[in-house]
Structure formats: structure tokens, C-alpha cells
């Protein structure tokens, strides 16, 4: 039996293991598609779980306040979708969670340090969510409206938003490693100081060097096995990341927009199909479309806030999606927004490439700029598809508010030769797609724009991949499962979202 101990201890030393950089890069590239798809599938259901409660509670609030059973009926119907989205979101969350610890196993070091407080606190929020989802869904009785029931939904909404904040804290740290002081600026010289220094810089410097030719095994071995000591002194600091504030507001508004307009599309469909129930459906549509419209207008301000953060902390991403190219140049709108000067000359990739000589790792600068240049070739279009979708939704939303003024309604009809009511009904079919395009494009820009870094300026994506080979069979199996969940989950939601007429 002692032999086992020796085998195990020699394995733990990992001295004989060496996985080449090229193998790890190809392994990481093989794992990326299933990971990206998994996160999108998770996000698709989660956005309903975070965004839909706003609409459900709006209906319930109106239902209780006005003693209106039609609103309550709609709230109950939508809360089932909320419940299903929550359950599928939790299931796909498991997939993402295991994807992290099993396929991208180097992230365990981040879970054990930078992400520790956000993820552990999220456990508490998640527990509150589950308890209140059960209470909320199982105590529905629309014939007896109750503020207690509404309040339980409100607690659930707050818990799900706190949960989103904490999960996004981990993601924001990946984009802007807040709390690392000037550490990243030594590697990427254009980076500002990222908050107060809460890390053991010497240990992370050594870790950075160790990672250059090695992947996960070196990461685990160095940081966990070699007892380098505490590397992160203040686990709460990722919660104060300025990128997190912007990302959270931006993400929650996006979820409200998509969920509200998706509900609007289903209501509008039944509005067209069931002529006898149009008043009922238009009443519901005004609330769902209105919720989406308010969020779409707020999104314009949130987008501005987000853009400023990206410019400050992920400038290469900014250059890529603004199409400023190698030599940079003028960008009148951005010039006015950021500097109040339409003639401001933004530097391009060449400027940042020239800063390589100031870096402790010039190769990291070159890799970052090359990745941003490559991202620019498609990221520009993806980014603008997000912006244009957002602008159209903004215009739809402004039009929607004209519904409350007869003069504006008449004016609208004169200009567009369609009644505003009809416009709201028909645009309900376009709006959710625009929301989905904007959200998925925005997330793609956010994530792909920091390539090749998994934690910006510190750890690259291939350095956290499992040393096990990701075979095509494995990828296909996981992708098939992800697609099955997406299809089955979507059908369930479509099935439930069909608003049947309210029967007294």
C-alpha cells in the first residue's frame, strides 16, 4: 500500500509532466466552441430568469392595486415561464460550472482567490432565490390577490439581481482585474492602475513567468502546491470593480428588454389571432412593451457608461470595435462623448504596439495587439449590429410613449400611415430579435475582445485548459447536449407563453 502513496506523491510533484504550449493552445481552441455555446445557452435562459421578474411583478402590482384579475392571470402565466427559465438556468449553470473546473481547470486558482468572495456570497443569494421561487410559485392564487405574495416575488427579484451582480463580479475581474494595482500596467504599459493593490505582486510576477511555457499544471503547481503564501489579501475588492457597476446595469437592462419584448411578441401574436380578445391583449401589451421601452431608453445611458469603462480599461477592444485601425484617427461622436472634441485624434494599434519596449513582457503586448487586430476584422460588424439594434429599439420606445398622447398619435399616423397601436403590435415581433442580436453581439464583443487573456493582462486562455485532450467526440457530445437543452427549453417556454384568454 505504501507504493500507492509513493505514486500519488510523485504525481503531486508533477515534475515529469510537461505539456507543450502548442498542444495546450490547440486543446483550448478545441474546447472553446462548446464553452461559448454553453455560456450562451445558459445566458439565454438566465436572461429570462433575471429580466422576466420585472414584468411579472409589474403585472402583479397592477393586478393587486387595481383588483384586476386579467393582470394577475398574465402574471401567473409568466411566472411559470420564470420558474422554468430558473430551473433550466440552474441546470445549464451546472454545465458552465463544471466546464470551468473540469475543462478550464486552471480557473480553480482564480476560484480559490480572486473569485472566491463573489462566488461564495453568490451561494447565499442562490439559496434565497430557491426558497423564494418555491414560495412564489406554489402560493399563487389569482382569485385572492395578496401583497404577501407580491413581496415574496420582490425578495426573489432582489436575490436574483444580487446573484447576477456577484457572478458578473467574477466576469468583470476577468476583463478588469480590479485590486491588482499597477501589476497589469507592467505587462501592458497603457493600462491604468487597477484600484488599490491587494495582491502579492512578487508571487504573481513569478507566476506570470512560470506560465509562459506551461499551462494549467504549472499554474496549479506554483500557486497551490508550492505554498507561495497569500496572493490575494482582500477577497471583497472584486465587488468594487467599476467595470462591474457598468456591466451589471447594462446586463440587467438587457435582460429586461429581451424578456419584456419576448412576452410582447407572444401577446401580439394572440392579439392578431383572437380578434374578440383584443382589448385584453392590448392592455397586457401596453405593460410589457412599456417595460421594455423604459429599459431601452435607460440602456442608452447605460451604454454610454459601459463604453467609457471599456475605453478606460480595455482600449484595444475600443479601437477594434470603433474601426480605428492601425493608425487611429478621428471619431467625431466618440471624440465629443469622451473629450468634448469632435476632432480628437485617437491613437491606433501601431501606437500601442510601439509601447512593447516599455513592457516587462514585450511579447504579451504584441500578442494583445495582434489579437485585437484579428478581432477588429469581425468585431467591428458585431459591435455595430449591437449599436444599430439598440438605436432601433430606442426609437421604438420613443414612439411607444406617444401612445399616451392623442396629438402625437395623430401625428404618427400622418407621417407613417399606420396607427400607433398597430405599430406597437407589429414592432413587438421585431423587438425581441433586436434585443437578442444586441445582447448576444454585446457579449461576444465583451468576451472575444479580451482575447487571448482569460484574466486581462495576467493569464492567457490556453494557460488554464485541462491537460487532458479535448477530443472532437467529447466536444460534439457536449454541443449536442447544449443544443438539446436550448431546443427543449425554448419549446417549453413557447408552449407556456401562449396567452389564452382570461376565463372568469
Amino acid at each position: 500500500m505504501k507504493a500507492w502513496g509513493l505514486v500519488l506523491l510523485s504525481f503531486l510533484s508533477l515534475s515529469s509532466l510537461s505539456i507543450g504550449e502548442n498542444n495546450l493552445i490547440s486543446n483550448a481552441n478545441a474546447a472553446e466552441p462548446m464553452t461559448i455555446l454553453g455560456i450562451y445557452v445558459h445566458g439565454f435562459f438566465l436572461l429570462m430568469a433575471v429580466g422576466l421578474p420585472y414584468l411579472v411583478l409589474a403585472y402583479e402590482f397592477l393586478g393587486i392595486r387595481k383588483r384586476d384579475l386579467e393582470y394577475l392571470n398574465a402574471a401567473k402565466k409568466l411566472s411559470t415561464v420564470w420558474g422554468i427559465s430558473f430551473a433550466i438556468g440552474a441546470a445549464t449553470g451546472t454545465l458552465v460550472e463544471f466546464g470551468l473546473v473540469q475543462v478550464w481547470s486552471g480557473t480553480l486558482v482564480a476560484i480559490g482567490s480572486f473569485f472566491f468572495a463573489p462566488l461564495t456570497l453568490e451561494l447565499f443569494a442562490f439559496m434565497v432565490e430557491v426558497v423564494f421561487v418555491v414560495i412564489y410559485l406554489f402560493t399563487w392564487d389569482i382569485n385572492k390577490p395578496s401583497w404577501f405574495h407580491f413581496l415574496s416575488g420582490l425578495v426573489l427579484l432582489i436575490a436574483s439581481n444580487i446573484s447576477a451582480y456577484l457572478i458578473l463580479a467574477a466576469n468583470s475581474f476577468m476583463n478588469v482585474p480590479w485590486g491588482t494595482g499597477d501589476l497589469v500596467s507592467k505587462i501592458l504599459p497603457w493600462m491604468p492602475a487597477l484600484g488599490p493593490n491587494s495582491v502579492n505582486q512578487a508571487a504573481l510576477d513569478n507566476l506570470y513567468v512560470m506560465l509562459q511555457n506551461n499551462g494549467t499544471i504549472a499554474l496549479i503547481k506554483y500557486s497551490l502546491e508550492n505554498n507561495v503564501g497569500i496572493i490575494f489579501y482582500n477577497p471583497m475588492i472584486p465587488l468594487l470593480n467599476p467595470d462591474l457597476f457598468a456591466t451589471f446595469i447594462h446586463t440587467v437592462l438587457a435582460t429586461i428588454i429581451i424578456a419584456s419584448f419576448e412576452a410582447s411578441a407572444f401577446i401580439a401574436y394572440d392579439y392578431i389571432k383572437r380578434i374578440s380578445e383584443r382589448n385584453y391583449r392590448f392592455k397586457l401589451l401596453k405593460v410589457s412593451y412599456g417595460t421594455g421601452a423604459v429599459a431601452s431608453i435607460l440602456m442608452a445611458f447605460s451604454g454610454d457608461f459601459m463604453g467609457r469603462i471599456v475605453y478606460q480599461y480595455n482600449v484595444l477592444k475600443f479601437i477594434a470595435f470603433e474601426g480605428l485601425g492601425n493608425s487611429g484617427g478621428r471619431d467625431p461622436i466618440m471624440g465629443i462623448l469622451l473629450y468634448g472634441n469632435p476632432n480628437y485624434n485617437f491613437p491606433g494599434f501601431d501606437y500601442y504596439l510601439a509601447l512593447a519596449s516599455r513592457s516587462v513582457d514585450p511579447n504579451a503586448v504584441v500578442q494583445s495587439v495582434l489579437a485585437a487586430q484579428s478581432f477588429a476584422t469581425w468585431g467591428y460588424y458585431v459591435y455595430w449590429s449591437m449599436v444599430i439594434s439598440g438605436i432601433i429599439l430606442f426609437i421604438f420606445s420613443i414612439f411607444y410613449f406617444a401612445i399616451y398622447s392623442e396629438k402625437l398619435q395623430t401625428l404618427f399616423k400622418k407621417i407613417f400611415r399606420i396607427s400607433l397601436d398597430k405599430f406597437v403590435v407589429y414592432s413587438s415581433f421585431i423587438a425581441p430579435f433586436l434585443g437578442l442580436i444586441a445582447a448576444s453581439s454585446g457579449w461576444a464583443v465583451r468576451e472575444a475582445g479580451r482575447h487571448p487573456w482569460v484574466i486581462y493582462g495576467l493569464i492567457q486562455y490556453w494557460q488554464v485548459i485541462t491537460p487532458n485532450t479535448i477530443t472532437p467526440t467529447f466536444s460534439i457530445l457536449i454541443i449536442a447536449l447544449e443544443l438539446s437543452i436550448l431546443v427543449l427549453g425554448s419549446f417549453s417556454i413557447i408552449y407556456i407563453m401562449r396567452f389564452r384568454g382570461y376565463k372568469k
Binding site: M1, W4, L12, L17, F98, H149
Partner: protein, 374 residues
């Protein structure tokens, strides 16, 4: 308190809470399709009513089990990243089987619920069987972790044959023991509950459930006990440290840690379950009722699994991985790159207990007292 102790306590807490709930889910997932098969054969609507209420209970349990699964994963990754890395790397295949199982089980639970009465009986039963297969796949994979930390077979296969871990001699017995343990727990619990309801209401729908459950519980506890005996014997051979901790004075080598008294209590629990189960079945088949035996059986069936789990986990202390008559200490796997302060332990206990208490209080107010009802 130090990092190792804090992390150990939290991991143990989450593990026991999670496994208690997943055993309920596993048992119900296996029993539900059996009940549905009988229901279709007999065209028995009363049985369907019972089946629906059991299934509802499972859905709520599943939500809570999911929460604890997340706690467990974060605690493993956050406190024991080194061990988690080795486990996810070497046990890549078994863990993938479990994940696939979760991904099959969770949507099929939803589909099973929403297709009730909307598709043909046979198709619905088929969906139930898929749900059952998905649920069984979960312990098939995850039990390898327990088998592995008791006897690390396949440890030197990184980059080699990742299927080598399946040669672990403890794995088959341990896994089957766990699966039959879950069936025993759930069928005995339900037998106790229906026995009590039958006593209180005298409704035949409860009596007939008792009849069906008897045919599940009795063979299951027999198989579970037999496998438990075999597993104990295997431990002496493949994981002698654990055997010595459990068997105390009857072991060949005394261990640093002695759980012999607790192990005796566990054996007593199983024996009491046997006695209560046989008694209840016996009096039921003779046309009599007993609320005392029914309640006792329901309670004891709930105690068995967490108690056994506690012994199973604590028997490795102070090691994490057992290598014969010794092991690798917990401290070798602990996360040293952050401080695991008492704050995390205290807040975890307070939050989980406060939230669950609030939940139970609200349920009591809503269901029993009919307060806050609309």
C-alpha cells in the same frame, strides 16, 4: 480555527446536506417510473394522485439539492482547488458521465411534469425512464470520486488511459450500495408516511401504496445490507485505514481516528429499520395499522443516510486520500493563497440555517395555518 479545519467543516456540511437530498431524488426517480408502470397496468387514478404528490416533492427537493451542489462545487474549488484539479483531471470520464446525467435528468424532469396527461401513457412512461436513467448516471460518475479517495486507482494515468479508474475494486459495490441505499431510504420513508396517512384517514389509496412500496422496500433493504457487508469486507482489503477506523477493536491495526461507536450506532439504525419495516409490512398484510411504527420508520429512514454519510466522510480524517493504511493529509490539499477566515464558516451556517428556517416557517404558515393565503 485554522484554514484546514474551517474548510473541512464547510465541505462536510455541504456534502452531507447535498447527499441527503440527492438520495431522496435518486430514490424517487427510480420509484416513480415503477409506480407509473403499475398505474398504467391497473388504470388506477388514485395511484396517479399519489404519484403526482411524490413527484412534486421531488421537484422541490431537486431545487434545494441544486443549491447544495453549487455550494459543494464552490467549496471544493475554493478551499480544495488542488484536490479538485486532480479529481477533475484524472476522473474526467466519470465526472463527464455525471454531468451528462444531470443534463439529461433536469430537462426530463420538466418534460415529465409538463407532459403529464398530454401525451400517451407509454410515451410518458418512456420519458420517466429517461429521467430515471439520467438520475442514475449522476451517482455512477460521482461515486467514483469517493471510491477514488478511498483507493486511488488510476492515479498515474494522466495523459494515459483515463478509463483505468473504472478498475477500482471498491467502485461497483460502493455505487450499487449507494443506489440501493437511496431506494431503501425513499421507499421506507414513503411507506412510513403512507402508513401514517392510512391510519389517520383509512383511505384505500394509501393502503394500496403501502402494498406496492413493501415490494420495493424489502428487497431493496436486503440488497443494500448485503452490499454493505461486502463493501465493509472490501474496505479491509483495499482501504485498511478506513476499515480500522470503523471496526475499532476488531481491526488489525488501530487507527489515529476511531469511529467504532458511531459505526455501531449506524448498524443499529439499519437493524431498527429492518425491524420497523418488517413489522409494518407484517401488520399491514394482516389488515392492521400502527401510526407509531409508521412515524418511527419514516424518521429512522431519514436519519440513516446522513449518519452513514457522516461516518463515510469522517472516517478519512485527518487524511483526504487514503493510500492503504495511511493517507495524504487534508493540509496538503488546502488552499493557501487566500485566508479562509471564520467569517465564511459562520456566515455559511447562519445564512443556510436562517434561510431554511424561514422557508419551513413560511410553509407552516401557508399550508398549515393558512395565513398569508390570498
Amino acid at each position: 480555527m485554522n484554514n484546514v479545519f474551517n474548510a473541512f467543516i464547510l465541505l462536510g456540511y455541504a456534502t452531507i446536506a447535498h447527499l441527503f437530498l440527492v438520495n431522496l431524488i435518486l430514490g424517487i426517480s427510480i420509484i416513480i417510473p415503477i409506480l407509473e408502470y403499475i398505474q398504467i397496468k391497473r388504470n388506477d387514478d388514485e395511484l396517479k394522485r399519489n404519484q403526482i404528490s411524490i413527484f412534486k416533492f421531488m421537484v422541490i427537493t431537486d431545487l434545494f439539492a441544486g443549491v447544495w451542489a453549487t455550494w459543494l462545487t464552490v467549496f471544493l474549488g475554493g478551499f480544495w482547488p488542488l484536490l479538485t484539479f486532480y479529481a477533475t483531471t484524472i476522473l474526467f470520464i466519470p465526472i463527464t458521465i455525471s454531468i451528462a446525467g444531470i443534463l439529461i435528468a433536469l430537462p426530463s424532469i420538466g418534460i415529465y411534469w409538463y407532459t403529464w396527461g398530454k401525451v400517451s401513457n407509454k410515451l410518458h412512461l418512456f420519458i420517466g425512464i429517461i429521467m430515471c436513467i439520467g438520475t442514475i448516471m449522476v451517482p455512477l460518475g460521482f461515486n467514483m470520486i469517493f471510491a477514488f479517495i478511498n483507493d486511488p486507482v488510476g492515479i498515474n494515468q494522466l495523459g494515459g488511459n483515463l478509463f483505468a479508474v473504472f478498475l477500482n475494486p471498491l467502485y461497483p459495490t460502493f455505487t450499487l450500495h449507494r443506489i440501493f441505499g437511496a431506494i431503501t431510504m425513499v421507499s421506507s420513508l414513503l411507506l412510513g408516511i403512507y402508513g401514517y396517512l392510512y391510519y389517520k384517514t383509512n383511505q384505500e389509496r394509501y393502503g394500496s401504496m403501502m402494498y406496492i412500496l413493501s415490494y420495493i422496500a424489502l428487497p431493496s433493504i436486503f440488497i443494500e445490507s448485503f452490499l454493505g457487508f461486502i463493501y465493509a469486507f472490501e474496505l479491509t482489503k483495499y482501504s485498511p485505514y478506513i476499515a480500522s477506523v470503523l471496526f475499532g477493536p476488531f481491526s488489525l491495526n488501530p487507527a489515529e481516528n476511531n469511529l467504532y461507536p458511531l459505526f455501531l450506532i449506524f448498524i443499529s439504525i439499519i437493524l431498527i429499520m429492518w425491524i420497523l419495516l418488517i413489522s409494518l409490512i407484517f401488520i399491514h398484510f394482516r389488515g392492521k395499522k400502527s401510526h407509531l411504527i409508521s412515524i418511527s420508520l419514516a424518521i429512522i429512514s431519514l436519519i440513516g443516510i446522513p449518519f452513514g454519510e457522516f461516518i463515510n466522510d469522517y472516517s478519512r480524517y485527518p487524511y483526504f486520500i487514503i493510500t492503504g493504511d495511511k493517507g495524504i493529509y487534508l493540509s496538503q490539499f488546502i488552499n493557501n493563497i487566500i485566508n479562509i477566515t471564520d467569517f465564511w464558516v459562520i456566515s455559511s451556517f447562519i445564512v443556510s440555517i436562517a434561510v431554511l428556517s424561514a422557508y419551513l416557517w413560511l410553509l407552516y404558515q401557508v399550508i398549515i395555518k393558512k395565513r398569508f393565503s390570498h
